[in-house]
Symmetry: C2
Subunit: 305 residues, 2 copies
């Protein structure tokens, strides 16, 4: 079943211990959309400037992503520059130029409005809510947020996620949102805020999925070489929701299979791990579904007992 | 099959956010021995002072631990005091009085020498080697070490672990020993040093097991309340080797079942998680094998997909 992805489309400059790239395609919408496109039909909503390159449009189109909702306006595309620490567990932002993204006001093309799955990348909570209200009875909604919205836009954020089926954040965000350090308690508090499913990403340590009556845990894939972790969390989201959309999974109580949810977390982990193998979105230029299935089997091999 | 455990027997003073205990039974030999005793016959080698309490002897004896190798000498038992940080991920040592442990020179009773399994808690590498040389053709040897021996006694440590079947350390120790940050590469370098099996403990993030041809990963058990993490790593070791001894597992190439090794890591994780539920060794006073099996099944439930 098809999926609408809303978020940023950007150019990034990134420096890691393995090298540096001055300008590469990025943004949450891009990463989520590309990762999800290996599982299901994807339609994106975003905004780019008139500097947005033909080859980047072509890459998205090559994955059969519906670009009707990708608005092009005068000005420059969102630009972000950052540098990673030696062990790549920390990064420092060097530059953030919102450019055309500053006035982003997502408008859903009519052809998108009846699609059953909606995933909202990390943008202002009020915009996330506005997008959802443009859909006609969307079946599953979920998305991401960040420390900035949790701290300074808390009420708006709570109003937004109240209507979501799943929330996908990292462990420090889960602690901040709940005010609790213990993840099991933090998860219970967040499930009280609306979503029936909470996924906590832990970077190299894997991911957790919580529901009222069960949880699922997976360790992180051990890469021999992490080239560039930019976008890995968004690729996780893309693999997770992409797989749910592919198998038409519902998340409502009594309608969901815990094993199916576990597999969605594994596909998320698989896509996040591939993302780190090359700079930016480069790994997705050559990736195949066979590669994905092979890594999925690897996850089974090293976790089964 | 029976297991010989060598290491420290101590009194600890511990402060965590949940409270403080001024004097409680501790030490690597104690924790490893108690945890392993739920799986197999255990015989310990250690030294205590004349202040060692009858009730602590009784606790070890109640688990049917062979105490012939527990030497009692004039003086005070090894004493350690420490305080944990708010999130319990760090601890600060306040006091270390080696006392009778300063002259510890482990001597194996004749009745221990033909036992097939030997696990060496974190003590000086030369002593670890000396213990092994007192055994008659021990089948499986392994143990723990720490940053101090890795940094200041490197040659001695390398000579010692060359003869071991398994090494059980934490992630920062693995990085220090190998000089490599990436854990997959660090593991390969350590497997070149002698042991055919490397277990890396990652605290709340679980554990990894590496062999030449495979690896196994498990996430950490999510406790709602961590009372006191003291001894959790040693209890992991006890559960791991205890289970291997119980099922008579060999670790040599071609003789081992990867699934069996995975289960040993799970039992290690189970015992480490129980250890954190109360101060010191208190959880082991009431723990049953049924409790252990129930938590083992929980691990299966939240990792299967």
């Amino acid at each position: 079943m098809s999926l609408v992805v809303v978020g940023s489309v950007a150019y990034d400059a990134v420096e890691t211990p393995h090298g540096r790239v001055d300008r590469m395609l990025g943004g949450s919408c891009t990463y989520i959309g590309l990762a999800a496109s290996f599982f299901t039909k994807v339609a994106v909503v975003g905004v780019v400037g008139d500097d947005f390159a033909r080859e980047d449009v072509d890459l998205l189109a090559s994955r059969e992503i519906d670009l009707e909702g990708l608005e092009r306006v005068p000005g420059k595309t969102f630009f972000w520059a950052g540098v990673y620490s030696e062990d790549m567990n920390d990064r420092t932002t060097l530059q953030t130029d919102l450019n055309v993204f500053a006035d982003f006001n997502p408008k859903l093309p009519a052809s998108y409005r009846d699609r059953p799955y909606l995933v909202l990348g990390n943008i202002q909570p009020a915009l996330q809510r506005a997008v959802r209200s443009q859909m006609n009875g969307v079946r599953i909604t979920g998305g991401d947020t960040m420390n900035y919205w949790i701290r300074d836009y808390r009420d708006e954020l709570l109003e937004t996620i109240r209507d979501w089926d799943f929330l996908l954040i990292n462990d420090s965000e889960a602690r901040m949102l709940s005010g609790l350090h213990n993840l099991r308690r933090a998860a219970n508090a967040i499930l009280d805020m609306g979503p029936n499913t909470l996924v906590i990403k832990r970077g190299e340590y894997g991911a957790l999925l919580f529901r009222r009556d069960s949880h699922f845990m997976v360790p992180g894939y051990l890469l021999e070489e992490i080239f560039d972790p930019t976008g890995a969390g968004d690729c996780f989201a893309g693999g997770f929701i992409g797989y749910l959309a592919e198998c038409g999974c519902d998340l409502r109580e009594g309608k969901v299979d815990r094993r199916e949810l576990g597999r969605a977390v594994i596909y998320g982990s698989v896509m996040g791990s591939f993302c780190c193998e090359k700079f930016g979105v480069d790994r997705f230029r050559t990736l195949t579904r066979d590669d994905i299935e092979q890594r999925f089997r690897e996850f089974r091999d090293f976790t089964e007992f």
